[in-house]
C-alpha cells in the first residue's frame, strides 16, 4: 500500500467536445462524448473502465454516463463539492482509487451547458433550506450573489493592500488571449485583445471588467487515470501525477470567506501548495509551466503567491515582467485559460496540463518537465503537479 500519492497514478487519455455557446444537446450527451473521446485517446475501450468521478455540480450521473458510453462494472464512483474547487479534487479521488486498487482505470469528467443552460453569472437564489442556502442567505438580500461579485470583494482588498491595478489584471488577460489566438478550440481563437480594449470594457463588478471574467461555455472534458504500470502499456507518454491535494482552510466559506483576518490571503490554496511540494519533493523552481484556475483574472495573482512563484504582494510585478508568456519564467494558461478558451470548471485545464507534458499545446513552452494545475479560487480547492513519465 502506498504511503504517499507521489507517482502512484498517471493521466493517459484526454478528450473533449466542441466548446460552444449553444450545444443544442443534453449535458449527458456532452459528458458521454468527452468520456468516450478520453477513453479512446488512452488506447482503452469502455469495458476497461471501472471507476468514474465528477463534480457534485455535474448534472450527469456517473451510472448514466457509464451506460451511455458502454462502461460496464464500476468498483469506484464519487463526487467532489465546491464548484471549480473540485477540478483537481476529482483527480485526487481518481489517483487515490488507482493507488489503493479500488479501481484500475478511472474516467474523470465534467460537462455543462454553461451558456445555453443554467448560467453561473446569473447568481444564486432560492431552493430547499440547506446549510448551503442559509449561507447564501447572508448575501442574497444585499445583492452579492454572483461569482464576479464575490471574487471582486477579495480582489478590491488585495489591490488596495499591494498597490495592484487594473493594468496588472490586463496583463493576465492579454497573455492568455495571446495563447487563445493560436488555439482552435478557444472561443477567442484568432481574436486578439488589446490593452485599450481591456481597459475600456464595461465594468461587471468593479474592480473587475468584462475581459477579467471567464467565458460561459457549453461543453464537456474528460480524462483517464490509471496506474503507472498500466500507463506503460498505453500509446501516449503518461502525465505522471507527482502530487495531488485538496485544501479547505479554517473559517472557510464557499466563495465568501469574508471573516478571516485578511481578505488578501488565500489560505486554502496555501494549504494545497504546501502539500503539493511536500508530496512531490519539488518546489516552485522545478515547475516549468502552469495551468492556473482563472474564473477571473485576479485569481491568477493570488495563486502565484500561494505556490511561491513570487513573494506575497509581488504577483503584479511577476506578471508585468511577462512571466506568464512563452519565454517567461512560468508560461501559464497556454490554452487561453477559462478567460479565453472555455469555462469547463477547470477540467479543460487538466487536459491542457496533459498536453503540456506531452508537448502538444498550441502554445508549447520549450521546457515541460513539471506542470502545475490548480482548481477553483475562493472555495475549498485542490491542485496537482504533473511530471514526465
Amino acid at each position: 500500500m502506498p504511503t504517499t500519492l507521489k507517482d502512484q497514478a498517471a493521466i493517459v487519455g484526454i478528450g473533449e467536445t466542441e466548446y460552444s455557446k449553444n450545444s443544442g444537446r443534453s449535458e449527458l450527451s456532452l459528458a458521454s462524448e468527452a468520456c468516450a473521446a478520453a477513453i479512446s485517446d488512452a488506447g482503452l475501450t469502455p469495458a476497461d473502465i471501472d471507476g468514474m468521478t465528477t463534480f457534485t455540480m455535474d448534472n450527469s450521473d456517473e451510472i448514466e454516463v457509464a451506460r451511455a458510453v458502454g462502461v460496464k462494472d464500476l468498483t469506484f464512483f464519487s463526487r467532489t463539492p465546491h464548484g471549480g474547487g473540485a477540478a483537481i479534487g476529482v483527480m485526487h479521488q481518481a489517483a487515490m482509487a488507482v493507488a489503493t486498487g479500488s479501481a484500475k482505470a478511472v474516467v474523470v469528467y465534467r460537462a455543462l451547458n454553461g451558456r445555453s443552460g443554467s448560467r453561473y453569472s446569473e447568481g444564486v437564489s432560492g431552493g430547499p433550506t440547506t446549510s448551503d442556502l442559509i449561507h447564501w442567505s447572508w448575501y442574497m438580500p444585499s445583492g452579492l450573489m454572483t461569482p464576479a461579485s464575490w471574487v471582486a470583494m477579495y480582489t478590491q482588498r488585495y489591490m488596495h493592500d499591494y498597490g495592484c491595478t487594473g493594468e496588472d489584471l490586463a496583463e493576465v488577460c492579454l497573455s492568455q488571449r495571446d495563447h487563445a489566438v493560436k488555439n482552435p478550440r478557444a472561443f477567442f481563437y484568432e481574436k486578439p485583445l488589446t490593452f485599450e480594449e481591456h481597459q475600456s470594457a464595461r465594468p461587471i463588478v468593479e474592480p473587475l471588467r468584462l475581459y477579467d471574467c471567464c467565458q460561459e461555455t457549453d461543453g464537456g472534458a474528460a480524462c483517464v487515470v490509471v496506474s503507472p504500470e498500466m500507463a506503460r502499456e498505453l500509446p501516449h507518454a503518461p502525465a505522471m501525477i507527482r502530487a495531488v491535494a485538496q485544501g479547505a482552510a479554517g473559517d472557510q466559506e464557499s466563495m465568501t470567506s469574508f471573516y478571516r483576518p485578511s481578505l488578501s490571503d488565500l489560505p486554502e490554496m496555501d494549504l494545497v501548495a504546501k502539500q503539493c511540494w511536500a508530496i512531490s519533493g519539488l518546489g516552485p523552481d522545478d515547475v516549468d509551466a502552469a495551468v492556473m484556475y482563472d474564473a477571473f483574472s485576479s485569481n491568477v495573482l493570488f495563486q502565484l503567491e500561494s505556490f511561491g512563484f513570487c513573494e506575497k504582494g509581488r504577483a503584479k510585478d511577476f506578471v508585468r515582467d511577462g512571466n506568464l508568456r512563452l519565454g517567461g519564467r512560468l508560461p501559464s494558461n497556454t490554452h487561453g485559460g477559462q478567460l479565453s478558451e472555455a469555462y469547463l470548471h477547470g477540467m479543460n485545464g487538466v487536459n491542457e496540463g496533459v498536453r503540456l507534458i506531452r508537448g502538444t499545446s498550441s502554445s508549447q513552452p520549450d521546457k515541460n518537465e513539471h506542470v502545475l494545475v490548480t482548481a477553483g479560487v475562493g472555495v475549498p480547492t485542490s491542485g496537482m503537479v504533473l511530471g514526465q513519465g
Binding site: 455557446k21 442556502l133 442567505s137 478590491q156 480594449e197 465594468p203 475581459y211 469574508f258
Partner: protein, 325 residues
C-alpha cells in the same frame, strides 16, 4: 422618469463617441447566393417571376441567367437561428450602445423604418458581406411609446470583389418602458403587486432568530454563553469551546469598510444599480456584509467609517444597510 439636467448631459456625452463609427464586426453571409434560398424566399413571398427560379426563362431574359430578388439583400447575411441564442460579440459597438441605453433605463426597442438601395442584381455564387456604421443618434424625443432616442445605422453590402452591391438604412427607437426603482423610494411606499422585490433570506433554525431581530430594528451578533466569543454568521456550536449555548448582543452598527464592490451586471430585478456591497468591520470585532447607500459609488473607499441602520430595502424586507458615518 426621463433623465434630466446633469444626468441627461452626462448620458448624452457618453453617446457622442458612437456617432459615425463602424460597429466593429462584419456580417458575412454563411452561404453564397444560391438557388435553394432564392426558391424558398420566392415561395414564401409568392413571387413567381421566372428570372428568379426558372433557369430556361432566366437564360433568355436581359439577365441571361438566374438572379436573386433584390429585396433578399439582407437575407444573405442574417445570422439565422443563432441570432436568438448566441452571445453578443463583445466587439460589437452597436450592441454596446444598446446596452448603454438599457443601463440608463431606455430598455425598450422598436424598429421604426428601413430603406434599401440596390446597385446590381446578385447571382448564385456571389458572396455577400456587410459593414454597418452608426450614422446618427437623435436628440431626446417624447414619443407615443415613451421618452427615447432614435438611432440610425447604415449598412453597406459588398461582394467577393469588394464592390458595393447595395445599402440599407435602419432606424430604431430606444425608449423608457417604466419608471426605474430608486433605493430611497422603498420606505413608506405601498406594495405594488408584481413589482419585483429583493431575494429574501431562507430561514432555518440557525438564522431565523437573527432576522427576527432585524424585524425589530436590531443588528444582532451571536455570543457564546460559555466562553463569551462573538460569532457571525451565526452557527449552532462555538468553534472555540464547542458549547451549544448562546445568546446575542446588539451591535452599535458602527464600523469601517474592509472591502467593497460596485455591481453593474447582471441587473437582478428588485435591486438598483450600480449597487455597492461592502464587508464592514464592526467595532464589536465581527464583520457584516451589506449595502452602502446614499454615497456616490466613486467615493466609497476602504477604511471609510460607516454606520448601520435597519431599513426597508423594498416593500417587503428590512435589512441593515450602511451610510457614511
Amino acid at each position: 422618469m426621463a433623465l434630466a439636467g446633469k444626468a441627461r448631459e452626462d448620458f448624452e456625452k457618453k453617446l457622442k463617441p458612437y456617432v459615425g463609427i463602424g460597429i466593429g464586426v462584419e456580417d458575412v453571409g454563411r452561404n453564397p447566393v444560391n438557388q435553394a434560398m432564392i426558391r424558398q424566399w420566392c415561395e414564401a413571398m409568392g413571387d413567381e417571376l421566372g428570372v428568379y427560379t426558372d433557369a430556361a426563362a432566366a437564360a433568355v431574359s436581359t439577365h441571361e441567367g438566374i438572379v436573386a430578388p433584390p429585396t433578399m439583400l439582407q437575407a444573405w447575411i442574417l445570422g439565422g437561428v443563432a441570432m436568438a441564442g448566441g452571445e453578443d460579440d463583445p466587439r460589437d459597438k452597436q450592441k454596446e450602445l444598446h446596452r448603454l441605453f438599457d443601463e440608463h433605463g431606455f430598455t425598450g426597442v422598436v424598429a421604426t423604418n428601413t430603406e434599401q438601395k440596390y446597385l446590381r442584381y446578385l447571382r448564385p455564387g456571389d458572396e455577400v458581406r456587410a459593414a454597418t456604421q452608426i450614422e446618427s443618434i437623435s436628440e431626446q424625443k417624447a414619443t407615443g411609446l415613451g421618452v427615447g432616442y432614435f438611432i440610425n445605422t447604415r449598412t453597406l453590402f459588398y461582394d467577393q470583389d469588394d464592390a458595393e452591391v447595395g445599402s440599407l438604412t435602419f432606424r430604431v427607437l430606444k425608449f423608457e418602458t417604466e419608471d426605474r426603482p430608486s433605493a430611497s423610494e422603498g420606505e413608506g411606499s405601498s406594495a405594488i403587486p408584481g413589482k419585483p422585490q429583493r431575494i429574501k433570506p431562507v430561514l432555518g433554525h440557525d438564522n431565523e432568530w437573527w432576522w427576527q431581530c432585524v424585524e425589530k430594528g436590531e443588528l444582532a451578533i451571536q455570543k457564546c454563553s460559555s466562553c463569551g466569543v462573538l460569532r457571525h454568521p451565526p452557527r449552532p456550536m462555538c468553534g472555540e469551546c464547542q458549547s451549544t449555548d448562546w445568546e446575542f448582543i446588539f451591535s452599535t452598527g458602527r464600523g469601517t469598510i474592509n472591502s467593497y464592490v460596485v455591481i453593474h451586471y447582471p441587473e437582478v430585478p428588485g435591486y438598483t444599480y450600480p449597487l455597492v456591497v461592502a464587508v464592514v468591520d464592526l467595532e464589536e470585532g465581527t464583520r457584516f456584509v451589506s449595502n452602502v447607500v446614499d454615497v456616490d459609488p466613486a467615493e466609497v473607499e476602504i477604511g471609510m467609517s460607516v454606520q448601520a441602520s435597519i431599513e426597508h430595502v423594498d416593500d417587503e424586507m428590512k435589512l441593515p444597510v450602511f451610510r457614511r458615518a
